[in-house]
């Protein structure tokens, strides 16, 4: 059996899965305005989750600053379009390049440290960015924020944004999967598991980790860009530490090491918590789910499913070592 584009998508199962899911689900979602709006917001979160997946799942940097990177992307878009009259789309480049440059610079300084120290550095970085945004009144509008951010070209309906958001996700997954199939992706996996081995293999560990973090920040910046143009208003509360934490938790719960893990985590958890009565308890559910998933299956929901599938296929075989980009921590000795 063959299908159009098989040559490109055949060896890219994740891209194929997400593309088919989006094509099937989107027409149904677009029939109701509430679902359409949720689809856009979930799309933004899913992009943030993907950025955590690249950073933590692949490069091994536990990031707690994705919300801040998204805020930089969002504010870059807002300021360039409202103050300087840039055409939308053109600002996407800046919204991705700015956080990427910042992430690369900081990561070069801290990735030589232990993973725990790097995680704390990202948390501190996110907090500093948040305070700066709050206080740079002249540039960001301070606490009041920036309003009147124009829509992206011809896309000015929620349905259009839903298509744009999930189109961006399909493209991101495709590029992400491409990266992980490349030598750089394999090198990232080696250094996450064993840095000494990676060095012995001739990998420039700090440079590659920083590049991975920069790519992740660029994806977060794109999420912020989408958010700013869709909501058309941006304030310091829009993309804060809370968002960074949610993105991290959702990615880990879904399976940060799997390409589609963060998207599964986002859909499952954000979808479920939207149905719950008390919004204040959202953090409780996230935290509890994180602890349960760490205890039950450290590789996330997708890791759990993959393990089950493997056991069903070969009931008495011991788990075979798999390609690193498909199965993260579980293949460690």
């Amino acid at each position: 059996m063959s299908f159009p584009g098989q040559r490109y998508l055949g060896p890219r199962p994740n891209t194929l899965i997400i593309a088919v899911c989006v094509l099937v689900a989107l027409p149904v979602v677009l029939t109701r305005p509430v679902w359409t709006d949720s689809a856009v917001v979930l799309g933004v979160y899913a992009l943030l989750g993907l950025s955590v997946g690249i950073s933590y799942g692949q490069a091994g940097i536990l990031t707690m600053s994705q919300g801040a990177f998204a805020a930089i992307g969002g504010y870059a878009a807002a300021i360039l379009t409202t103050r300087f009259g840039w055409p939308p789309y053109a600002d996407l480049l800046v919204a991705m390049a700015l956080p990427a440059a910042l992430a690369y610079g900081v990561a070069r300084l801290v990735t030589r440290l232990s993973p725990l120290a790097t995680a704390l550095a990202t948390l501190a970085l996110g907090s500093v960015i948040e305070i700066l945004i709050r206080n740079a009144d002249a540039l960001t509008g301070g606490y009041i924020g920036l309003a009147g951010i124009p829509s992206v070209g011809a896309i000015n309906t929620p349905a259009g944004y839903a298509c744009l958001a999930w189109g961006m996700i399909v493209v991101t997954v495709f590029l992400y999967e491409n990266l992980m199939c490349s030598a750089y992706g394999r090198a990232l996996n080696v250094l996450r598991v064993d840095q000494a081995r990676a060095r012995a293999d001739g990998i420039d560990v700090p440079a590659l980790m920083s590049a991975g973090f920069a790519v992740s920040a660029a994806v977060a910046g794109a999420a912020g860009w989408l958010y700013a143009h869709y909501i058309s208003f941006l304030s310091p509360e829009s993309l804060d530490t809370h968002i960074s934490i949610s993105a991290l938790l959702m990615a880990v719960i879904g399976g940060a090491g799997y390409i589609l893990g963060p998207i599964v985590g986002t859909l499952l958890f954000d979808g479920l918590t939207r149905l719950m009565p008390a919004a204040e308890l959202q953090g409780f559910f996230y935290g509890a789910a994180l602890i349960i998933i760490l205890l039950a299956a450290r590789t996330g929901i997708l890791g759990l499913l993959a393990g089950l599938a493997r056991r069903l296929r070969r009931p008495d075989a011991t788990p075979a070592p798999r390609a690193a980009n498909l199965s993260p921590q579980e293949s460690l000795p």
């Binding site: 536990l62 900081v106 704390l120 907090s127 000494a196 602890i291």
Partner: protein, 284 residues
């Protein structure tokens, strides 16, 4: 000149809280080689419970609640260990989950209000410098506590066991030192000290449900400035951070003062060789 002296003294008094939070951070980092992100959340729980119950009973109830949460974290740690998890970042992530859950519970039960209580109404005046009495009490209490802890770690057999477990876990276990017990004890100590910090903050500056992460990070910042190895260094780190914050608030702006703990963390991490040994030969 008097202004500088006032800023320094006030900064040192408020920095004592960071110093107290630095102690569980350095203990945890040395003995378990991880970070308990929930220390700030223990402080919040203690403050919230104490605020609701009130009086001397409130203090005990607050500390008890913080200890109970820390005990829960210790159980999670043990369960992770039993399941064969040796990844320190997973322990940290689990404590992060607990911190998020606790903060959310406080938000749900108590709402967005700030928890603050005033035991004293009039400030004391010493040599022309106005001081908050609670700040002086905090400082004295924390100084006493850190001093006692230093003596415990350096001059008792329990302290020697702790240092042995920190230096070489396998070796300590072979010498029949209950390494796992010491690690669980460290988590509980984190609950006690975090809870105490929460009570002291409750009676001085006050806090709300958004505080935990900032408190944890401030404690960590204080712990690493002069090296994470000992609580005494953490104490001076906390004072340094408090003074820097007070000076920034006085001479720069509230914005810079708010950034001081995070800038400290970034500065120390980007310039030091902190945790680098884990990278050089550290294999999983």
């Amino acid at each position: 000149m008097l202004a500088i002296a006032e800023y320094v003294v006030r900064g040192a008094l408020s920095g004592a809280i960071y110093a107290l939070l630095a102690v569980p951070m350095s203990l945890m980092f040395v003995t378990v080689r991880t970070i308990d992100f929930a220390v700030g959340a223990y402080a919040l729980i203690a403050a919230a419970v104490c605020w609701s119950v009130g009086g001397a009973l409130g203090l005990a109830a607050g500390l008890g609640a913080a200890m109970a949460c820390a005990a829960f974290m210790a159980i999670i740690f043990l369960a992770l260990k039993r399941l064969g998890c040796e990844d320190h970042i997973i322990y940290a992530l689990a404590s992060f989950g607990l911190a998020t859950a606790l903060a959310s519970l406080v938000l749900w039960w108590w709402g967005t209000q700030a928890f603050v209580r005033d035991a004293f109404s009039d400030p004391w005046s010493v040599g022309g410098i106005r001081l908050a009495p609670q700040g002086v009490i905090n400082f004295a209490l924390i100084l006493l506590l850190v001093g006692a802890l230093h003596l415990l770690i350096q001059h008792t057999s329990l302290g020697r066991m702790m240092r042995a477990a920190a230096a070489n876990q396998t070796g300590a276990a072979l010498a029949s030192i209950p390494v796992q017990g010491i690690q669980v004890g460290t988590y509980l100590a984190g609950g006690l000290l975090g809870g105490l910090a929460g009570l002291l903050v409750l009676y001085s500056a006050g806090l709300d449900f958004t505080a935990p992460l900032g408190l944890t990070l401030s404690g960590f910042g204080a712990a690493i400035i002069f090296g994470i190895g000992s609580p005494l260094r953490g104490f001076f780190g906390g004072l340094a951070m408090g003074i820097a914050q007070a000076l920034a608030a006085g001479y720069a702006s509230a914005m810079v003062a708010g950034m001081v703990p995070f800038l400290f963390v970034l500065l120390v991490l980007t310039t030091s060789r902190f945790g680098e040994e884990a990278l050089a030969g550290g294999r999983p």
